[in-house]
Amino acid sequence: MNTRRLTEFALLGATAVEAAVFAAIAPAFFTIANALNIALAIAVTGILAVGMTAVILTGGIDLSVGSVVALAGVCAALVAGKSTLIAIVVALLIGVATGALNGTLIAFFKVPAFVTTLAMLTIARGLAFIISSGRSIGNLPDSFGALGRSSLAGIPTPVIVMAVVMFAGAFVLNRTVFGRHVYATGGNPDAAWLAGIDTRRVTWLVYALNGLLVGLAGVTLASRLGAGVPNSGLQYELDVIAAVVVGGTSLTGGRGTIGGTASGAIFIGVLTNGLNLANIDPYVQKIALGVVIVGAVVADQLSRRRG
């Protein structure tokens, strides 16, 4: 408990330092408008990171999220003409279906999560291109754009969606029996099974629920883009895993929190935004991000060894 909190506090502290530096370099950085920019920029990855945290807590991984985001977005755009509600439902269903399929292979057929979701990554991307004939599906009704472009009391809707998902995710993992079973399954699957936890069902449910969030992220992104874009969401899996890992979640399972993941996403969001405003070369930004990911995990390991 203490070390987890430590990670979150350390990250928030680091974010504050980061923000102070950027505020000094770039005057445009320290404004409310820019803060909302950052929040909007991390909204889709933030939603995905909640599901990914649960997946990684079970000791798994999901590499397919970026492709399924595109697939769900394309399918939603296809039916957006009928009604926005139907579009949202279709995106969620696509997400749940792919997640449940991943979960079935991983939990019941014991196919390694890395392999299963790597396959889903290419399959979902292929489907997205086939369904859209390789083109963006645009000209969507205005109401479809509301999810991604409207705002409530000045706060962009995707940011609100992300916040709700994060609170819900934290509640499920922290407070519910299911959440406890997720940690137990990742911490020691054999012991969990012998304590009466149906670890296969827990694993399956985590992938299915993660799929639901992927569908939600997909329709949110399509709405923001105003189109179903088959090559959207490219390499999102890497951004999402980065946020989760920087947030202190262990890739071996059983350890991590949504609070940590949220801090990780914010930290990376602030970094990217600040480097942009400071006019740092985008290629150099990539290097900086890599260094930060490794640095955060090394710092986490060191603090754990001492504790």
Partner: protein, 489 residues
């Protein structure tokens, strides 16, 4: 060689693990280090083998200062630890493991023939000629793996061997073989530090006994001058009765009945378990004891035969079903199968009894705290990660789990393995208390004394089936020992 440790002190946050410990390990001497869990034995051995850095104190080898920077450093000076969890590479052969890291080579190419010959020499020295140098370690039984580990230490010219409870996973015959090897090593002038809880073993192998308690050396004497009672008193700091509570209870109705059950490797077992009784299951390692318990627990698939619970058909398809029926399992491998080591005491204890959708934390805390007090689980807080507890306290956390589910049939698989004397006595007392309240206990034990003292009936297993069932009056130590080995009684 002679290794001298002087005034070794090691502090961890909140505890002094070692407090000015002096210890001398001499060549040709087997030095038993005894003490309850948490007494500081493991930390001390860590210091001696280079994996733990002391805060204060000195180490000298033959009078020369030797502060070890790492286990590798210690190994290079001839100090070698045989771990409880073995450190072999399963996919490599015996010979490859023995020379791992020090392969005989000519210009970078491993000299396989030379390696094989030297392996045979070492095995011959240890009188282990039946071990095939080309056998893959993964294919070997645990005892042979341990022997490989010892052979590696000998081949790499260890002059001080530290053995941490080496017999915990061995059968009786294997223990005899191990002791023969220890005698060989002693005769060859190797110094041996032997950590154990088992007093019988101290009497059998030790030349000298040092008892640790609370991080301090309580007493160190030649074994001949250190009677068993004195050792126990030094370990626990108080007088102990036999350790076994006296009263046996009156058995009630049959709660669990197995008729011609075959499950997993176990076949044709018929057995009853009554409320209020303790049934001891004895047999060699691999005789099917654990698998029998797993069949009752829904963890091994029933192939044929029937089970009934309270005389009603009972077919648990997974542990969850058995738990719902009031059965609890204390697994043999506490760390691997019993606990989520990274999680808190609270989480581990409540794992099987959480119902509903949202965890009621207040109730959870209260319930776990109640059992922490009732079972005497020594932990600074129920939020403490369970991996930081001693073995005995970890076992009590698993017990607390089944108290919280109100299990009335308990399957105890080696409940006191690797647990100190004091915690053992507490677990025995709890078993009696549970049976007095009508619980039924199936206890698998490799400790024959424990099985005979605690059980109302003894079930002997051999070759994956039950061969004999004896009342406690019929079950004498010698008779049961013969039955276990398959000799006529």
């Amino acid at each position: 060689m002679q290794l001298d440790a002087r005034s070794i002190t090691k502090r961890y946050p909140g505890v002094v693990a070692l407090d000015g410990v002096d210890l001398t390990l001499a060549g040709g001497e087997v030095h038993a280090i005894a003490g309850e869990n948490g007494a500081g034995k493991s930390t001390l051995m860590g210091v001696l083998s280079g994996s733990v850095r002391p805060d204060a104190g000195t180490l000298t080898i033959d009078g020369v200062a030797a502060g070890f920077a790492s286990p590798r450093d210690a190994r290079e000076r001839g100090v070698r630890m045989i771990h409880q969890e073995l450190s072999l590479v399963p996919e490599l052969t015996v010979a490859e493991n023995i020379f791992l890291g020090v392969e005989p080579a000519r210009s970078g190419v491993v000299d396989r023939a030379g390696q094989r010959i030297r392996t045979e020499e070492v095995l011959a020295r240890l009188r282990q000629t039946h071990l095939d140098p080309d056998a893959r370690v993964a294919s070997l039984p645990l005892a042979a793996r341990q022997m490989t580990e010892i052979a590696r230490a000998v081949a790499q010219r260890a002059s001080l061997l530290i053995m941490d409870e080496p017999t915990a996973i061995l059968s009786r015959a294997e223990i005899d073989a191990l002791f023969a090897v220890i005698d060989e090593l002693r005769a060859a002038g190797t110094a041996i530090a032997y950590i154990t809880h088992r007093l019988d073993e101290i009497e059998r192998v030790a030349d000298r006994v040092t008892v640790l308690r609370d991080g301090r050396v309580i007493e160190s004497r030649a074994r001949d001058a250190f009677p068993r009672d004195d050792i126990v008193r030094a370990m626990v700091g108080r007088e102990l009765a036999s350790g076994y509570p006296a009263a046996k209870s009156a058995p009630g109705n049959v709660v669990l009945r197995l008729s011609n059950v075959s499950a997993g490797p176990v076949h044709d077992v018929s057995l009853t378990l009554r409320s209020g009784e303790i049934v001891g299951v004895v047999g060699l390692a691999g005789s099917g004891r654990t698998e029998l318990a797993h069949a009752m627990y829904g963890h091994a698939r029933l192939v044929s035969g029937t089970m009934s619970l309270d005389e009603k058909p009972f077919q648990p398809r997974r542990p969850r079903d058995a738990i719902a029926a009031g059965i609890g399992l204390l697994p043999e491998d506490r760390k691997g199968q019993g606990l989520i080591l990274s999680a808190a005491v609270r989480v581990n204890a409540s794992l099987a009894s959480l119902g509903g959708i949202v965890v009621d934390r207040e109730r959870e805390r209260a319930a776990v705290s109640t059992w922490r007090d009732a079972l005497g689980i020594r932990t600074p807080s129920i939020e403490q990660p369970v991996r930081l507890l001693s073995g005995g306290n970890q076992q009590k956390v698993v017990l607390a789990r089944w108290m919280l589910t109100h299990s009335r049939i308990l399957l105890f698989d080696e409940p006191t393995r690797g647990i100190d004397v004091g915690a053992k006595a507490e677990i025995y007392a709890l078993m009696r208390e549970l049976t007095a309240k009508g619980a039924a206990i199936l206890m698998i034990s490799s400790d024959l004394g424990e099985a005979l003292e605690m059980s109302d009936r003894i079930v002997v297993m051999r070759n994956q089936t039950v061969t004999h069932q004896l009342s406690s009056a019929e079950a004498t130590q010698e008779r049961v020992a013969r039955l276990i080995l398959g000799e006529a009684a």
